[in-house]
Assembly symmetry: D2
Homo-oligomer: 170 residues x 4
């Protein structure tokens, strides 16, 4: 029985303090729910922080890396998927996640939110400014939710997972 | 000597009348400049219209298709690249274009603009509303330009190409 | 600390009885070693059998699917990575595995062995005829090993993993 | 009306003298037929030689590069498609070609022949030893043809193209 996968996306080196703090909490809470954490796998920013948070709660973490080696991988990634395909891997993140949480925003994250909408996936926005949130709500009205705290994002994620027919039980 | 490639991105079936009209003009003008037109290659919306416009001026058109066959290809595509990789091919569109012109907006187009910024490519926005244009200008301040007509977009494109060191002459 | 990943590749619907039997044993033994099993994830042939074997020993299984949904997934896959990129995902299988075991042969498997050699990965051949084994040994002399039983393949895998500097301990 | 694309695949730096000589002839003859030449696009080995041959006959050349920039591109490539996805681009070469000619052999080439068989594409082998040719004929009996000269390979290609229902006229 396949496991539920929650993707957390967000900036790398440009991540701000609030996004890092939210990411650590998201990772911890995702692991506590028994969900698998999926990220872009790199050793910086939101990717690194959310993986660290998940490991603090003994979660299982999957990193979908743009590289073809482990040199830039977060040491908190358990399962490293080396795609060697750069940012084209963003579409794998969108497709493989039962739902996504965007924790902060940068160009890579924006591409993943848009690809998730294209793939009919729900995305919970956390820490995006009002204009950015409004942009994505207009881009994919049926797919975008907004949270103001990590805990609220997890509550929204629970609702989505419970309501989903095509997500098997954990 | 490799040829200059201008990518035109935009909605498929959801494209509005203005985007279709702009796309036909863009295709015609791109071909007139002697640039190669690169699109997502499908037989609908902006992709189809811009290819038709380019063929009216005897241009050369390249379609980077998400599919693994020609069944959904625009008949105005000369060179069909079948990726079989769905929306992950959007990153190829961004990487392969010397610059991109976004003609209208949808989730796929938004992902391509964001991927282009990530790849340090200039993107000219045509026919996006002010809020969307503002969103992308904030996402990639050094990469986004705004045009109000197809002719203006081509003028901006000429400036970018002439200023570029790493684009070889036609 | 990332976990060791062993990729098992082999035919789908065209797999013969011997390959299926070997695959079940390989899965069981890989899980017993505490390694993660990586496959192409589909619900047929070697992919399905090896995942079933791994689950009999409570292993953790990762499926790198060519599809963009779960419709053709083995029900013994725990973690489904949906690539939506068809056979281009074969390169992800090669890159992400610390080593690979080829259990039987078909066109997809042959592409993965060749891609693994290209990626400097060791591949253990199990159940290939002498001509095919010889072909791959000539193609990548430093990368190809031959086993005659599942147990022997696992012994060879242990040697490779123990000798490897860039594979972290389990 | 889309143009006929013939893919030529073969070793890079490890290509032998015979393969280079065959590649130059293949490129010249493909261009003379009015077909588009598709290669992996790099500035070495068979890829470079076949592109040079095609340009001597004023052909049109498309390079599907593994990189995300033009730094390793053959200067005889007209249209550079930057995939940024490493060897996963080999599947694009297989899918996009109406047929392929393998000129020599290495691991990358072997992966492309196997992926072409998987994609139901005909592959003409030129300059492979008898054991390698036999291996691929067994792997894909309906898809593999063998030529002994570049001219013979082009004759076989003409037959395939003329017999094909799904290839539009030039």
């Amino acid at each position: 029985m396949r496991k539920i996968i929650v993707g957390v996306i967000g900036p790398g080196r440009e991540a701000n303090v609030e996004s890092i703090r939210n990411a650590i909490q998201l990772g911890f809470l995702i692991a506590t729910e028994g969900w698998i954490l999926l990220t872009g796998g790199k050793n910086c920013g939101v990717m690194n922080a959310v993986n660290e948070g998940a490991k603090q709660a003994n979660g299982l973490t999957v990193g979908i890396l743009p590289n073809n080696d482990h040199s830039t991988m977060s040491t908190s990634v358990d399962i490293a998927i080396l795609t060697g395909m750069g940012q084209a891997r963003n579409n794998i993140n969108a497709l493989s996640s039962d739902l996504l949480i965007a924790c902060g925003l940068g160009p890579g994250t924006a591409s993943e939110i848009a690809l998730a909408i294209k793939a009919n996936k729900k995305v919970i926005l956390l820490g995006l400014d009002a204009a950015a949130a409004s942009f994505f709500q207009k881009l994919g009205p049926r797919y975008i939710l907004v949270a103001t705290t990590a805990a609220e994002a997890i509550d929204l994620a629970k609702n989505i997972i419970n309501a989903s027919d095509n997500v098997q039980p954990r």
